[in-house]
Symmetry: C2
Subunit: 144 residues, 2 copies
C-alpha cells in the first residue's frame, strides 16, 4: 500500500522547502505535532507526508490555532481509531472561529479606514481654507 522507495528529506531541506526553521521543526516535533522517522544515527528523514503535515500545520497556525489544539488534532490522527468525525468537528469549529475573527478584523479595519478618510478630508479642507482646521485635528486624531 505504501510506496517503498519514497524520496526523503533532511531537516534542512524541509526548512528550505517550507520556510519553517529547523529549530521550529524540532520544536513542533517535541510538542507532539509531528512524528518523524530517524536514521540509525538519529537524524530525521522527512517523508512527503511529513512535509505535507508541516504545510497543513502552517494553515492552522497562521489562522491562529494554538499549538496545543493542533496537538489534539495530531493525537486524533495518530490514535489508530477512526476519529475522522472528531477531527472534522475540530476543524469545523476552528473554521467558524476564523470566519468570526476575519469578520471582526474587517470591522476594525473599517474603523481605521474611516479615520484615514477623515484625515484626507481634513487635509483637503486645509488646502482650501488655511491652517485654522489643524488645531482641532491634532486633538481629535486619537479621539474622534
Amino acid at each position: 500500500m505504501t510506496t517503498a522507495n519514497e524520496r526523503v528529506l533532511t531537516i534542512g531541506e524541509v526548512a528550505e522547502a517550507t520556510g519553517v526553521t529547523d529549530h521550529t521543526l524540532r520544536y513542533y516535533e517535541k510538542a507532539g505535532l509531528l512524528v518523524v522517522p530517524r536514521l540509525a544515527n538519529g537524524q530525521r528523514r522527512y517523508r512527503e507526508m511529513d512535509v505535507k503535515a508541516v504545510e497543513f500545520i502552517g494553515h492552522l497556525r497562521r489562522t491562529g490555532m494554538p499549538i496545543r489544539t493542533i496537538r489534539e488534532y495530531a493525537d486524533l490522527v495518530r490514535s489508530g481509531k477512526d476519529t475522522s468525525a472528531e477531527r472534522m468537528r475540530l476543524l469545523e469549529q476552528h473554521r467558524e472561529n476564523v470566519v468570526r475573527d476575519l469578520a471582526e478584523q474587517q470591522k476594525h479595519l473599517d474603523g481605521i479606514t474611516l479615520k484615514i478618510e477623515w484625515y484626507r478630508a481634513a487635509m483637503d479642507q486645509r488646502q482650501d481654507s488655511g491652517a485654522q482646521f489643524v488645531e482641532s485635528l491634532s486633538s481629535a486624531a486619537l479621539a474622534q
Copy 2:
C-alpha cells in the same frame, strides 16, 4: 472651543465601557498610548476623547498593530506640530498590511476548508462502501 463641563469617567467606568481592564488601561498609559488627566489625589479621570482614543487603539490592536507602533502614532498626535500627513501615511501603511494579512489568512482558511471537504467526502464514501477506506484516511489526515 472645548466644552467646559464635560462628563468624565473613572478608570473603572472606562474599563466597563470599553471592555479593557483597568490594569491594561494603566499599562497603555505607561506605554505612552494615552495621557489621562488626574485629580489632585492622583486618580485618573477620562474625558470623552480619552475613551474614544481607547476605542481607536482597540481597532489598531485587534488588527495586529504592535504597541510600539501605536505609540509612534500617539507621539505624532501629541507632537504639537501638524503631523497629519505622517499619521495618515502610518495608518495607510497599516491598512495595507492588514489587507494583505486578511488575504493570506483567507488562503490558509481555504486550505482548511479543503481538508474538511475531504473528510466529508471520505465519510460519505465509507457510508456507501464499508470500512476499507478508513485506513488510508488515518495516515493521510495530516499529510494530504
